[in-house]
Symmetry: D2
Subunit: 340 residues, 4 copies
């Protein structure tokens, strides 16, 4: 749609799409609204729409992913997580422990994240574990403790849903629902996320190509939820000096193809505490919109992933250094534009 | 338990395990019954059991996977799929199309599989597809057509369940429920499979290590379903001459560590029709207990995976050649034992 | 050329090619001779050759590799290693220790290989080792011991050349010169091998694609040595249950694209003694022309790779079982052709 | 050695090492000199050295790599390439075309690199190419043109040696000799590099682990050349959105284990021009000591790698942005230390 398109214009287009048996996806942006069309009743002629008032352009999307594509929506999407914009000019920092373990642990974590300048709190109440005999999370009890931590600090809550059965419960407590790497192609879960009103944080699968990653996001959008944040967390390769190989080049690659924001998880991406700081900085320098970082008040006593969790004071340094880099790059970009 | 242990002996052990707050897993074998113990109420002393009548040995399992391990059960497990034993001396061939597309297609496929000497019919009613816009399977309609094909041919039915919601329906129609590669670490689905009375065919994930593969099976067994068939279907690597890289060395590796049978899917493992025959033979020579093969009456008109589906006459050759190899190897092994 | 082309016909074509400033590559086959053209003086019209006597067909090769391609030579190449044909109907077994360590060790190995029915003896005199501080081979002393073992047993010798400097020496003693996986893209070494009169055994690089593998062979052929045997030895992936991942699907893939024979090294391909037998059988079932296997009289005392070396009696079983499989498959193929 | 150790002290230790039949490796640092011991005449007791004057500490190195290890030399090594220090506080930028193609092209490239603030000029005279029919470089002619470009601009020259035969020639012209990724385990070439007086730029192999990478450097050092610069250039994985997967986490990993400097090549690491800038910034943020970047005056007319070469003005932006990030991080680090 054009920048001046009215609500009526948009509604007229929507009605036309639906009258042809398709589904209309209305995605408002800062400047203009994009409307995606999906569904399969037959061929459709873009020209049919171009004469309608307020329509700027009608294009046939050439990629297998449609709604996530910049062809449908050229402007960056900014996802609002309890008032925190993700994908805008400001970096977002989501910190916290791997699992919620106790009231004290999650409250202390939340306060540390808040004190360091983080805006969102992560913490798993339902944990996907390789072994059936490992700690599987506190479940609803964990969700309640997260809510308490939100109450205490004002931080928005990001927590994982591992199946359709518990999605509703997670969704009720969370400000943003995480879909983990192992579930990136759990299509039923993706569809359920697509029917949620909460933003979704979608982590890249361990052996996912860029196209599969965007197609997974497309599942969510195709069901009507356009609030998706992508997250690179390392892929599985032959290397053994880190737990996974953080593929930072996917950050600019996603940004070229999609309007969705992408953040990076350097904790899972490296699996080693002392690699988190340099790779966090590298992520921001590569253009990521923020970070998902494991922070624990006492990593050595963590029930899971302690060896890759930062101490609160390390997280503080990460936040400060990343913000300094982002400010520098923004400043340089602005100055360049001013001279151009 | 010893080979002479009675029902009463077994029950006494089970009661003792349960009285200590653990869970007993009773896995009968051809010669003797193994009893696994899981649960977490505290340490347990093997010696406590060794004095009970009928107990041969009590050992602490050293691996992270317990019930799938040969330490718990040294004899090969033979899984019965509608009367067809999987993991015994006879090879099992499960053929059929990627997706159930129509009555005619599935009936014709079933007759071809039957005619070629196959014992089981595969065919997807629920399809996990990379794109939300691809054909997603016929759903319950597909299950009914599979049942009709079973009726017509007597073949057992293997079909995939892609989520907990539809599991019950799939389980009702299927003789063996498949968990696909993308769901190998969908732990909720694995737990649900563990509460099923039907055998489970568990495919290896695209970037799954051997340990993760066995741990996924452990999820199913830990819930009480000991009827699990493993399936290698290729892993993701840098190579581009096949769709996936078939890792046949996992066959003897699994057989060394676990009592569960393992079969191979050379269709997904190569992604190319002309590579299926040589890799099928290689799979059997490596020791696999059978094959899962895509067969379609008219591959060029298949709605999915046509390029990797065999023509019925090709499947016939695969079955014959594989049986000949298996007979040869069995003969040589027997002769060797006779001389030893 | 046609099957009836005379020496004069072939020479006429060669002269014409050279007169145009190109290089002619004459590759005789069992039925007919293929002539490849390389060089870069400008475009060339296939039609210019089709009218010459004895020319069956002149085609422009569509692949990046030319001389190794079946487009240039459709018949299988059979490489003669000291009277042992590689790539023909008979399987070839090349066994022996990783490194030549002593007279006793190599003689004992050679006798064991011979006794098991092997035709070629492998053994490294120059070893490419990850560490500069590891045993680097006996050098010329090792070559002399290999020659002595050949004398004693009649086995042809396959040994590795690791650089251009020592190539001439290796070539003098060896019946077939091996280029190792780490040197698959050592182009100077490949060119040197291309100027040798001895057959070359070229191992696939650890992260080599099929195309790169064939291009490496093309380097050798482009210099005039058409006696190249390819060897799959496993590629590097994320898996950890074997040292490398044996990619057997490359066997039929190579056979489809190239006239060169391909054998398999299940010792490096698995890195574990107990996986060698099943993977050897799988290699032959997949269609390989033979095997390269590490055999050591006393593996536990080997200076390198002992854990993956077979005991002589295990090698004997490998040879017997592989021959039985090959005979079976040949028999079935012949019968099929007889009926067709 | 202690910071106050005299030449005489050092020489005394050297003599003692040699008298025991070992080789002494004297590696001076900014503060103190490290002396490595290699060779194999038998066990050696560290205590034997601790009483000598000037000796601070004698330790047994626990890693398989010795001389490259921080255990031997804890201070960062700074490698001097024609007056340009690599590994010190200042970033080093080495730019230039993939291949030297003509006088005009290399002079223009050199001037552009110089104008952008680069200190070193890269350009291949000998090119390792996948195909024997691709442009293989201008050879000595190319080296002479590089020397001319050095004359004209004062830039130091980095160029690749692809074999032992041409090493001497390359070494004569180059200020730093590059060993390419495909040759990372060409051990003869590494040994030859170890006998050179010129610094060596060693690129990580396509499927090299961190340990193999350091062991390759160890080959060079073990021969007496301690001037080695490491370079990450991407590894081979399943991903297809970039030519290789740039593994930036190897930068801090190398820095933790070794005193050698490490730089990054984002051109080969991504294979796409528009990904070079973000990944260059990420490399510096991760702690790399500099960059190796392909720059070409007219990328679209390049004989090789044009699609990944930067335009001169893009290189200028890379240099500026990277320097700004490095300055920022140095400033923050200093301030932190001042407050500590």
């Amino acid at each position: 749609m054009t920048a001046h398109a009215t609500e009526t214009d948009i509604d007229r287009v929507r009605q036309k799409i639906e009258s042809l048996g398709f589904r209309a996806h209305i995605m408002p942006g800062a400047q203009k609204t994009a409307i995606g069309i999906t569904g399969n009743p037959g061929p459709i002629d873009p020209a049919e729409f171009e004469d309608l008032p307020g329509v700027a352009e009608a294009i046939r999307v050439s990629k297998p992913y449609k709604l996530v594509s910049r062809e449908v929506k050229s402007e960056d999407s900014i996802i609002n997580v309890r008032g925190v914009p993700v994908g805008g000019p400001e970096l977002v920092f989501c910190g916290g422990p791997c699992s919620v373990e106790s009231r004290e642990q999650i409250l202390e974590s939340a306060r540390a994240v808040k004190a360091a300048g983080g805006q969102l709190l992560r913490g798993g109440a339902y944990k996907p574990r390789t072994s059936p005999y490992s700690f599987q999370g506190l479940g609803e009890e964990g969700l309640k403790l997260l809510a308490e931590a939100r109450e205490a600090t004002g931080l928005g809550i990001v927590t994982e849903a591992i199946d359709v059965e518990t999605f509703e419960l997670v969704e009720e407590y969370a400000d943003c629902v995480q879909i983990g790497a192992r579930n990136m192609q759990n299509f039923s879960l993706l569809r359920r996320a697509g029917r949620s009103r909460k933003p979704i944080l979608l982590k890249r699968g361990m052996s996912s190509t860029l196209e599969e990653f965007l197609m997974a996001a497309e599942y969510v959008l195709s069901e009507g939820n356009y609030q998706v944040i992508l997250c690179e967390r390392g892929v599985r390769t032959f290397t053994d000096h880190t737990r996974n190989t953080l593929d930072l080049s996917v950050v600019p690659a996603v940004q070229g193809l999609s309007h969705l924001p992408i953040i990076v998880d350097p904790s899972h991406g490296t699996g080693k505490r002392d690699k988190v700081h340099p790779m966090a900085l590298a992520s921001i320098a590569a253009g990521a919109s923020g970070l998902l970082v494991e922070v624990h008040p006492t990593p050595d006593r963590a029930l899971s992933d302690g060896y890759q969790s930062l101490y609160p004071e390390q997280f503080l340094e990460v936040v400060k250094d990343c913000r300094a880099i982002a400010a520098l790059l923004a400043h340089r970009r602005n100055r360049q534009q001013a001279y151009a």
